[in-house]
């Protein structure tokens, strides 16, 4: 298996996701490891998975993800995604994917107007995807969020369409799986935490599964995402 983590100026979770992915690859595809791709390197090698990490690409100046979406590497990422290469965008990576048009909707400032960093509970909306095959539909998992602009919006009809097509991947919930207001850290529409493209080969999510993929950090609920991806793609 080959996987690439794209590094933009201002990415700061690139190493974190590299570690989580490398550990999953060591478990399920021994001898392989992710490569780090600098954003100016538009003709990077052919890979089975592309990851856009969290951070503050270009300082989040102008609008989160807007400038990274215009960088040379992103033309290539969009082209490959359209051909079916799986793409995972976490936090700032999710923002870049919506700005690049690979995912519907947009991410605006949190309803609290404040940065929020804490563990949240997520309800897995489907186990039928490359990214969620190791989770059960309806399962509740705990992973952290850390963002200022994670408030997902889409028009009312668009949310209904996302639901109809099974494009909602994760929703914020309470520990019992109920979609409550207080369990939503940013005011997102329909408690949406992550969405797929129509073919479910592109996933963007605000929470950070790579931050709870190691028992020493207090939890491993993020680990099945990486294990499932590596298993499916190797």
């Amino acid at each position: 298996m080959k996987a690439a983590v794209i590094v933009f100026p201002g990415s700061n979770c690139d190493r974190d996701v590299q570690v989580a992915l490398a550990e999953a690859m060591a478990r399920h595809a021994p001898g392989t490891a992710p490569v780090m791709v600098w954003h100016k390197d538009a003709d990077f090698e052919k890979v089975d998975l592309i990851v856009l990490p969290g951070g503050f690409s270009y300082g989040d100046y102008l609008r989160c993800g807007a400038m990274a979406a215009q960088s040379p590497v992103m033309k290539e990422v969009v082209g490959r995604a359209e051909k079916g290469v799986p793409v995972l965008g976490i936090c700032n990576g999710f923002q870049i994917l919506t700005e690049a048009g690979l995912l519907p909707g947009a991410l605006i400032r949190n309803a609290s107007l404040k940065f929020v960093c804490r563990d949240v509970n997520l309800r897995v909306e489907t186990g039928q995807s490359l990214f969620t095959s190791r989770y059960e539909q309806g399962q509740t998992i705990r992973v952290p969020v850390a963002h200022h602009d994670g408030n997902y919006i889409a028009g009312g009809e668009d949310v209904a369409r996302l639901e109809d097509r099974g494009q909602i991947a994760f929703r914020y919930c309470d520990p019992e799986g109920a979609l409550t207001g207080p369990s939503n850290p940013n005011g997102s529409a329909a408690n949406i935490a992550g969405v797929f493209n129509e073919t479910k080969t592109v996933l963007g999510l605000m929470p950070h599964p790579e931050r709870l993929a190691d028992p020493a950090l207090g939890g491993t609920d993020g680990r099945p995402m990486f294990d499932g991806l590596v298993e499916a793609l190797s």
Binding site: P9, G55, D60, V116, C117, P144, P185, H208, L217
Partner: protein
């Protein structure tokens, strides 16, 4: 030549505006052998400012212990460096950004974080943790809420963007900070021991290279501003506050670390306070050399900047390096990759002078050593703080209801949960945060290992005010205790000494007392001071802040599987109190919050007992004998117990030990005697026996279990009620609902 650089007689008011005394100006004339021009005067002014020269504090700082076998670099470098084993070093320092944060809280706090980060990565370390110690005024003061909001947002704005986790710190509220808040920021980094960089320049002819952001007109005379009191209209000093750009700093960190992996760098120094002036002086002075700078080559944000503005600007995110000439191109390519400015602005000489040129003319020419090293040094007169009378527990009435008193303490501004603050900080980025905020110390894993660093900041200003010497000792002891409570071996200290105007003997007496107390405690605990910062003139209209010598401290955990947190782990475990107490209520939070009294001497600090009890507790943790551990400090036993219950979502019943001779119940519950810990163990017997053997006082004081907390003779209090009391005050004060 511009007006600034023509040598002419400088009027006395201009000298005064530069914060220089008449005597200091005489000294300048002597050193220069002529009258300085305005540029040169400006350079003397910043270099000799209290902020840069430590002229009032130096004689006392020299008394602090700074050596230990594990100290690699003590004070004098950008940050302290200690050996943490396996070929690695921890590099850390704490620094104040008090004056700017009061004037412009967001940018003041943000650039405080940026500045301390640069001090650490300048030395070759990747920053791995930020902490901050904050002191605000009375919550009822009209400015406090605005300052809290701005400072917290500024710290988060910078740290979150650059991607270094903000893992801990402390916050106090006291009317004594109404006119001068304190923002003390600490950064810890990790570097390979064989790749540590210093500012000592060498190699005559070697290029002096400027990189990072362009120079603008911001922060001019920031160091001088930070070396004066505030009067009316402090807000008018806003132009002296710098503006931060964490994105550029992130690029600068990555570019510098990439370059540091090569052999290109001879010396490197960040441009912090006093900017280009201080960094170039520092490098040349450390190397015993001279430097010629061509100011036409300095990357500027605006056209028409004068030499005076360029040399005194405190624009952020800038670095100065001396490179090996043959590596200049390699370095240029790395900085261009990261889209950062890179300019050779001068070269080293053997002249021992700094020669500044612009448009082909010499605009300034100063001797380096006298300026950098012969800065004034004062032994300021001081008076010792009068001894505060001790206060017996019997002189403090018992509360009508101990449970209600506990609830009030847990909800008071100095003790309530800081969740509202730390949820605005990314405390998990870098994926090595092993113990998150809310415990005794943060624990950050050393990347790629199962070892960790424990990190804390501590000071109890009300103790320092009542008795500076004891308060200084207590700040060190509490930091040592907080590290110990996680299972870490305490290694070293950075001190951030915040005081009022040192020209007033009363304030100077507080400073001297605190430094002596710090020194005594650090010596007794083998806890050397490896870096630090002094912030004086924290006063407004003649009113000084409470003495606040903040201690930042780092310890090492050899095995992250053998640590403890404050959270109760299991039902039915025994709760053991380690350490002796006499129910000390003088200068306590109980006395202040419940009785409304600020009086009495602070608790006695017995350093031998600290060491004995702490070593015992650390041993228990290392042996895997304890399931949870918490040090006792503000609010005493009852508050520590409640914090452990809340963290573990598990109740407890507290019972009086049967060894007799106890102080009155309220003093036993809320007394702030030092050198004490609470631990939980599956069964108390073996631990009590081991304690007897070690000469450590220990007693079983309760059992975990249930969903309520029961104090002796009191009704059970539900954890929900305790949690609401603890969690609700700060969000409510800041105008948020409990959720979101």
């Amino acid at each position: 030549m511009s007006d600034d650089t023509v040598s002419k007689v400088i009027p006395p008011n201009v000298i005064a505006q530069h914060g220089l005394s008449g005597e200091e100006y005489e000294r300048i004339l002597e050193i220069m052998g002529r009258a300085p021009n305005l540029l040169e005067l400006g350079i003397f002014s910043v270099m000799w400012s209290e902020h840069c020269s430590y002229k009032s504090s130096k004689v006392w700082l020299k008394t602090l212990p700074t050596a230990a076998p594990w100290v690699i670099h003590g004070p004098g470098e950008n940050a302290g460096v200690i050996d943490i084993g396996e070929g690695l070093a921890a590099i850390f320092k704490m620094e104040s950004h008090n004056h700017p944060s009061f004037i412009e809280p967001y940018q003041g706090a943000a650039t405080g974080v940026g500045g301390i980060l640069r001090d650490v990565f300048t030395m070759g370390a990747r920053p791995v943790a930020n902490l901050n110690a904050l002191r605000f005024g009375d919550p009822e003061h009209p400015k406090t809420r605005h300052l809290v909001a701005g400072v917290v947002e500024g710290i988060g704005g910078y740290g979150n963007c650059i991607g270094v986790p903000t893992v801990g710190g402390e916050v106090n509220f006291d009317p004594g900070y109404n006119g001068n808040i304190l923002v003390n920021a600490m950064t810890v980094g990790i570097a390979p021991q064989d790749r540590i960089f210093t500012s000592q320049a060498s190699g005559i002819g070697n290029p002096v290279v400027y990189t990072g952001s362009k120079t603008g007109r911001d922060g001019i005379h920031g160091a001088t501003m930070a070396s004066a009191e505030f009067g009316e209209g402090a807000e008018e000093k806003r132009p002296t506050v710098q503006v931060g750009d964490p994105f550029t700093e992130k690029l600068l960190v990555e570019a510098c670390l990439e370059l540091m992996a090569t052999d290109a760098i001879v010396a490197i120094q960040d441009m912090g306070a006093a900017g280009l002036t201080s960094s170039s002086f520092e490098m040349a002075s450390q190397g015993g050399l001279g430097v010629d700078l061509d100011l036409d080559r300095v990357p500027c944000r605006e056209d028409g900047m004068t030499p005076y503005e360029m040399m005194l600007s405190e624009s952020q995110e800038r670095m100065l390096m001396v490179l090996k000439p043959e590596r200049e191109e390699l370095a240029r390519r790395i900085f261009e990759k990261w889209d950062l400015d890179f300019a050779v602005i001068g070269h080293l000489t053997d002249s021992g002078r700094m020669v500044l040129k612009m448009h082909g003319e010499i605009v300034g020419d100063l001797p380096i050593d006298p300026l950098a090293q012969a800065a004034p040094e004062y032994r300021r007169p001081y008076v010792n703080t009068p001894q505060a009378p001790s206060l017996a527990p019997s002189e403090v009435p018992a509360p009508a209801d101990t449970g209600a008193a506990l609830l009030r303490l847990l909800a008071c501004p100095d003790l309530c949960s800081r969740r509202w603050i730390w949820e605005q900080y990314d405390h998990m980025v870098m994926a090595d945060t092993a113990a998150r905020p809310g415990g005794d110390a943060a624990v950050v894993r050393i990347h790629g290992t199962n070892r960790g660093l424990a990190i804390t900041t501590d000071c109890t200003p009300r103790y320092c005010q009542a008795a500076p010497h004891d308060g200084g000792m207590q700040a060190v002891a509490e930091a040592w205790r907080n590290l110990t409570a996680t299972g870490a071996r305490p290694l070293a200290v950075t001190d951030n000494l915040n005081f009022g105007n040192p020209e007033r003997p009363k304030v100077m007496g507080q400073f001297v007392g605190c430094v002596q107390g710090i020194g005594e405690a650090c010596r007794a605990l083998d806890f050397p001071v490896v870096s630090g910062n002094v912030s004086l003139y924290n006063e407004t209209n003649g009113k000084a802040i409470p003495p606040t010598p903040t201690i930042g401290a780092v310890g090492l955990i050899e095995d992250l599987a053998r640590t403890a947190t404050v959270a109760f782990q299991a039902e039915g475990e025994d709760i053991v109190l380690i350490g002796a107490g006499e129910g000390h209520l003088g200068a306590s939070l109980y006395l202040r919050e419940i009785e409304g009294r600020r009086e009495g001497a602070p608790p006695r600090v017995d350093l031998a007992a600290e060491r004995r009890n702490g070593d015992f507790v650390r041993g228990l943790i290392e042996n895997g004998q304890v399931t949870a551990c918490h040090d006792l400090s503000d609010g005493g036993l009852a508050v520590a117990l409640a914090e452990m219950a809340l963290a573990g979502s598990l109740g407890a019943v507290l019972s009086l030990p049967d060894d007799g001779g106890l102080p009155p119940l309220h003093a036993w519950l809320f007394g702030e005697d030092q050198a004490r810990y609470l631990v939980t163990v599956p069964a108390a017997g073996p631990v009590l026996k081991a304690a007897r053997g070690a000469g450590v006082p220990a007693a079983k004081v309760g059992t975990t279990g249930g969903e309520t907390l029961t104090l002796p003779g009191g009704a059970p209090i539900s954890l929900d009620e305790l949690r609401a009391a603890h969690e609700d005050w700060l969000p409510a004060y800041m105008g948020d609902t409990a959720e979101n």
